[in-house]
């Protein structure tokens, strides 16, 4: 069974499996029960007390609440179902059932129940809180609007205020959180909400470096088993990418509450992020023993098995590469070269040298990467960096034909290693992403100046965020494409800073390193106010994109017409529309670039001059569509331009490193140019990638070894070729030469 398939199966069986549940979650918004006081003070007998209370309960709704607080989710589910069968229009009951589903990791079911409750009662408090809770967990933008509806009716609603505080903490508004929570506590906040407020205040202290926090002592005085007082801080550290501190906080939480299996599973996942796989496995196995149904735990253990069984580990000075065993020979040389260049260039640019090896992990299946990153499949991103550990989709998970340039993405992630490292992981999200995007454009393996149409449309519609609020575009996007647009905006902001402020990027990193926020980093690092930077940015965008913004609609129309004409093989129309679009925005080499229908039209009409010029321009601007690069390489070959052909094939092979035929062709061309040492990597990889013509691939390898005077390796490869095809003439000739029976007339390096 593949890792991915296994992960999906586990998610299905996890539905409403019994699990230890914090009474805090169950009690929020529910009716008061007799055992709440015991649970609140951490009495180990509280669960048994709730179970007894459930047995005594006069109705199903109360029994459901008691069972839920005892951690019996399946029993609570059955009781809620029974209660609703008698009062199907009870919106409150339906919403409470929905919140049980959140605890059971069944978010879609929970959302459906909340929607049903809101259809029956548009202002139902529990349903609105449930929707807000879902949005908070998914980093969606609906949190504020749902909570606002609750607070309109009950301005002092404690749970709504606590949720708002948590969201503000995630956005780094530590001072506001402290003020709000202190006010709530002063107003007499009690019960579980009081403990929850202590935990959030302790987390605010932890983020600000206040150690030890007085709020921890106050929380533990009320409830000595309240591990959440550290676990909440741990989760905030995770959101802020401070994984080593997250691990320390989880360890403290588990000292207080050793059987918090969720916290233990999260500790295991974060130990993986800081490259402590043995400790991760130990904690995940303990979490599994306590709660075998948590998909985070099972998925992560399965991932560890996958890494142990199916991945190769390659160690180089300052670098450790993990990749699927069959792909490692094809990918590792690229990773090593990029990491070495990053080590030299970025260390100088950003003033940080990793203390230990940088780890690069490449995945063959996106869902395995997603589990590595978040514990669950279905993640929308393609790469992630945990300090010095980079994990990402490899080229087998997503290819250049889907617009994913894995080497460029690796360069992006490596830049995070340096910006996170230079600031002790305190850099803001927009700035770290912005530097990474700028690095891709300017210094990466595929430099280019192309921005997607969605960004230009957002710019034209004035939907870009002020720099001071740009993190919200990543954390809580307001519209579907805002995350992607925020990446581009951040990249352009960093491009502006790099171009107009001498050491602006490094100076801003220095401010972040001391705990400064973005406003302080801009003021101190650049010497201007954030709104002044916004003004400069608008002017910069006007200079750079003014032309295309004025012609956005004609560009869109020409682009659409060019692709439609190419689709119906109307080559002349494809060329005409393609030319119009290219003239309006020549840098546009996104996957739907107009260069492609223009080139297809030129190929269809057998117009080599236009074909050559179009493909060369597209390639020079960073276009990497495989069809286009195939054609361009063929055109160079047909016209006897081996150096240009090799340059195209090198870029092409970097974007498609697992294409054995392409690697073989590049190897052959390099060998023909006498560049045998470079050829060796590609002809070796071509053999490893199980080529269609195995004998031919082995002969190319043997010949390359021979020209490098590596005679025994040449002999081994040659025998492999002849074992497949004993009558292979050129191979027999080389065998005689190796044996000294035939003259050596071949050039050597």
């Amino acid at each position: 069974m593949s890792g991915t398939a296994f992960i999906r199966v586990v998610l299905l069986v996890a539905a409403l499996a019994p699990a230890r549940v914090a009474a805090l979650a169950a009690a929020s918004g529910g009716p008061p029960l007799g055992c709440d006081a015991a649970a609140l003070r951490g009495d180990p007998e509280a669960d048994a007390c709730y179970r007894a209370e459930a047995r005594r309960a006069g109705d199903d709704a109360l029994r459901a609440e008691a069972l839920w607080r005892a951690g019996d989710l399946a029993g609570a589910n059955a009781a809620f179902r029974s209660a609703l069968s008698r009062t199907p229009d009870d919106a409150g009951l339906r919403a409470r059932w929905g919140r049980l589903f959140i605890d059971a990791h069944q978010e879609a079911d929970a959302e459906a129940l909340f929607r049903e409750a809101l259809e029956r009662d548009a202002d139902n408090e529990q349903a609105l809180l449930g929707m807000a809770q879902l949005s908070l967990g998914r980093f969606e933008s609906g949190v504020r609007s749902h909570l606002a509806r609750v607070l309109r009716r009950r301005p002092d609603h404690p749970e709504a205020h606590l949720m708002l505080a948590r969201m503000r903490l995630e956005l780094g508004e530590v001072d506001t959180v402290r003020e709000d929570l202190t006010r709530l506590l002063d107003a007499g906040l009690g019960g579980w909400e009081r403990l929850d407020a202590f935990a959030l205040l302790a987390a605010a202290d932890a983020l600000a470096g206040v150690e030890p926090s007085p709020w921890v002592e106050r929380a533990l005085a009320l409830n000595p088993r309240f591990g959440a007082v550290h676990a909440v801080a741990a989760r905030q550290f995770v959101i802020n990418r401070r994984y080593r501190e997250a691990v320390a906080s989880y360890e403290r939480a588990l000292t207080v509450e050793p059987d918090d299996w969720l916290a233990r599973a999260e500790l295991g996942i974060n130990l993986l992020r800081v490259e402590r796989p043995a400790d991760a496995r130990r904690n995940l196995e303990r979490a599994y023993a306590g709660d075998p149904y948590n998909p985070l735990t099972v998925n992560s253990l399965r991932l560890l098995d996958l890494l142990d069984d199916d991945f190769a580990v390659v160690r180089e000075p300052g670098l450790l590469v993990r990749a699927p065993r069959a792909q490692a020979p094809a990918l590792t040389p690229y990773v090593v070269r990029l990491a070495r260049r990053a080590g030299a260039d970025m260390a100088a640019r950003y003033g940080y040298t990793p203390a230990g090896p940088v780890v690069v992990e490449l995945y063959e299946h996106h869902d395995d990467f997603a589990v590595r990153t978040a514990g669950l499949p279905g993640l929308g991103i393609l790469g992630a960096t945990f300090g010095d550990v980079v994990v990402m989709d490899g080229p087998a998970a997503k290819g250049i034909e889907d617009g994913f340039d894995w080497a460029s993405a690796l360069w992006h992630e490596l830049a995070h290693v340096y910006t996170l490292g230079a600031t002790g992981n305190r850099v803001s999200r927009w700035f770290s992403e912005g530097v990474s995007v700028m690095e891709e454009w300017r210094h990466g393996p595929t430099p280019n100046r192309s921005v997607p149409l969605s960004f230009l449309e957002a710019l034209a519609e004035d939907r870009l965020l002020p720099v001071a609020d740009l993190d919200e575009g990543f954390l809580r996007p307001q519209f579907p494409q805002q995350v992607g647009i925020s990446y581009v905006q951040a990249g352009l902001l960093c491009s502006l800073i790099d171009a107009r402020f001498d050491s602006g990027l490094a100076d801003m990193l220095a401010v972040y390193a001391t705990g400064g926020n973005s406003v302080e980093a801009i003021r101190t690092g650049l010497g201007i106010a954030p709104d002044a930077l916004d003004r400069q940015f608008r002017s910069y965008l006007g200079e750079r994109f003014g032309g295309i913004l004025a012609a956005l609609e004609p560009f869109r129309e020409a682009l659409r017409a060019a692709h439609e004409a190419a689709e119906r093989k109307d080559w002349q129309s494809a060329m005409d529309a393609g030319r119009r679009a290219v003239a309006l925005y020549p840098d546009y080499v996104q996957p739907d670039s107009a260069y492609l229908p223009l080139a297809r039209g030129a190929a269809g009409l057998d117009d080599p001059a236009v074909l050559d010029a179009t493909l060369a321009d597209y390639f020079a601007r960073g276009g990497r569509d495989p069809w286009a690069l195939d054609r361009l390489a063929d055109r160079h070959a047909a016209q006897g331009r081996p150096r240009e052909e090799i340059a195209v094939l090198e870029a092409h092979a970097r974007t498609r490193p697992l294409d054995g035929a392409l690697r073989a062709r590049l190897g052959e061309r390099l060998a023909a140019a006498g560049r045998y040492a470079e050829a060796l990597e590609h002809v070796s990889v071509a053999v490893e990638l199980e080529p269609h013509d195995r004998a031919g691939a082995q002969l190319r390898l043997a010949d390359t070894y021979y020209r490098l005077n590596r005679i025994e390796e040449a002999r081994r490869a040659l025998l492999q070729a002849l074992e497949i095809a004993p009558t292979y003439g050129p191979a027999l000739d080389l065998l005689l030469t190796l044996n000294g029976t035939a003259p050596d007339e071949r050039p050597h390096e």
Binding site: G399, D659, G696, I724, P726, T727, L732, L735, L736, T741
Partner: protein
């Protein structure tokens, strides 16, 4: 030496025994048909592919008929197939290659030609009338997978561009099948010829690469069913490795090839070093014999 070993070798390496091109040429009789393209681009592509296949075969055989576009009506196809069967002699390989558009309406496969289209049932009837010979059908058309159950016979290899009639988008299989006949990368055993099974394997591989490179879902999955199809379809430009027939050298070459095959069969029972040392010794002898230095 070694009649027993030689017989083993004959079973496994038939193409090596019949090393002269002429010996093969007399055995293969072929009809190659390019159907209607429906557009200039397809018409031109189909005819080019059919000519490439026919040219490859003609270098090996004198009995190759090519029908293109307007000539390729249903009745003409039937007549040519009947004539081909009539000319066949014992031991011949009879070959039919269809290139073009096919369709399938859940009941009948149709090969698109001028006038009435031949159906899968027509093709089955015409081919079944051939004398029992080694038969090879290459149906490089969309929806050609529908032919597999209709044409299946013990003596017949059926290669189709698709695995079912439901795969009815325009196919790229023919383009790669034709390209195989001029690509040394298709000649997997490096005997200087591209056999039918080598051409199929090459085309199957390239079809997969085509869809992977385009980033689109594969709408065709080539399928080959029936006995191994070792018939040669083309001779590559490079001289075959062992073109010379007859004489003492040929006998020694045959012995060495048999010895190599026996050694390969025994690989698992030998340690690696001694296996490769012996393989090298035999291969050096073979290389010398090929050069004319018969020890």
């Amino acid at each position: 030496m070694r009649p027993l070993r030689q017989s083993v070798w004959l079973a496994l390496w038939p193409a090596m025994v019949l090393s002269a091109a002429g010996a093969v040429a007399a055995d293969t009789r072929a009809l190659v048909v390019a159907g209607l393209g429906g557009s200039d681009a397809y018409e031109s592509a189909f005819q080019h592919q059919a000519r490439t296949v026919a040219d490859g075969l003609r270098a090996l055989s004198g009995d190759v008929t090519l029908l293109l576009g307007g000539m390729a009506g249903r009745d003409r196809c039937a007549d040519e197939l009947a004539a081909l069967g009539a000319r066949a002699e014992a031991g011949d390989t009879l070959l039919l290659v269809l290139i073009g558009h096919g369709s399938y309406d859940d009941r009948h496969y149709r090969f698109n030609v001028p006038g009435p289209d031949p159906t899968g049932e027509d093709l089955a009837r015409w081919l079944d009338a051939w004398p029992v010979q080694r038969q090879l059908v290459v149906a490089a058309t969309s929806a050609s997978g529908a032919l597999q159950p209709l044409l299946a016979q013990p003596q017949r290899t059926v290669m189709t561009a698709t695995r079912s009639g439901a795969e009815n988008n325009a196919s790229v299989f023919a383009e790669h099948f034709a390209a195989a006949l001029a690509d040394s990368g298709a000649d997997l055993d490096k005997d200087g010829y591209v056999s039918a099974e080598e051409a199929f394997a090459y085309a199957e591989n390239r079809v997969g690469v085509h869809y992977a490179t385009a980033g689109s879902m594969a709408t065709e999955h080539p399928l080959s069913a029936g006995p191994r199809a070792t018939a040669r379809l083309a001779r590559l430009d490079a001289a075959p490795a062992f073109a010379a027939g007859g004489g003492a050298g040929a006998g020694r070459i045959a012995e060495l090839q048999a010895a190599i095959e026996a050694l390969r069969a025994d690989k698992d029972s030998r340690d690696s070093d001694s296996y490769y040392a012996e393989l090298q010794r035999l291969l050096i002898e073979l290389a010398l014999a090929r050069r004319g230095d018969v020890p």
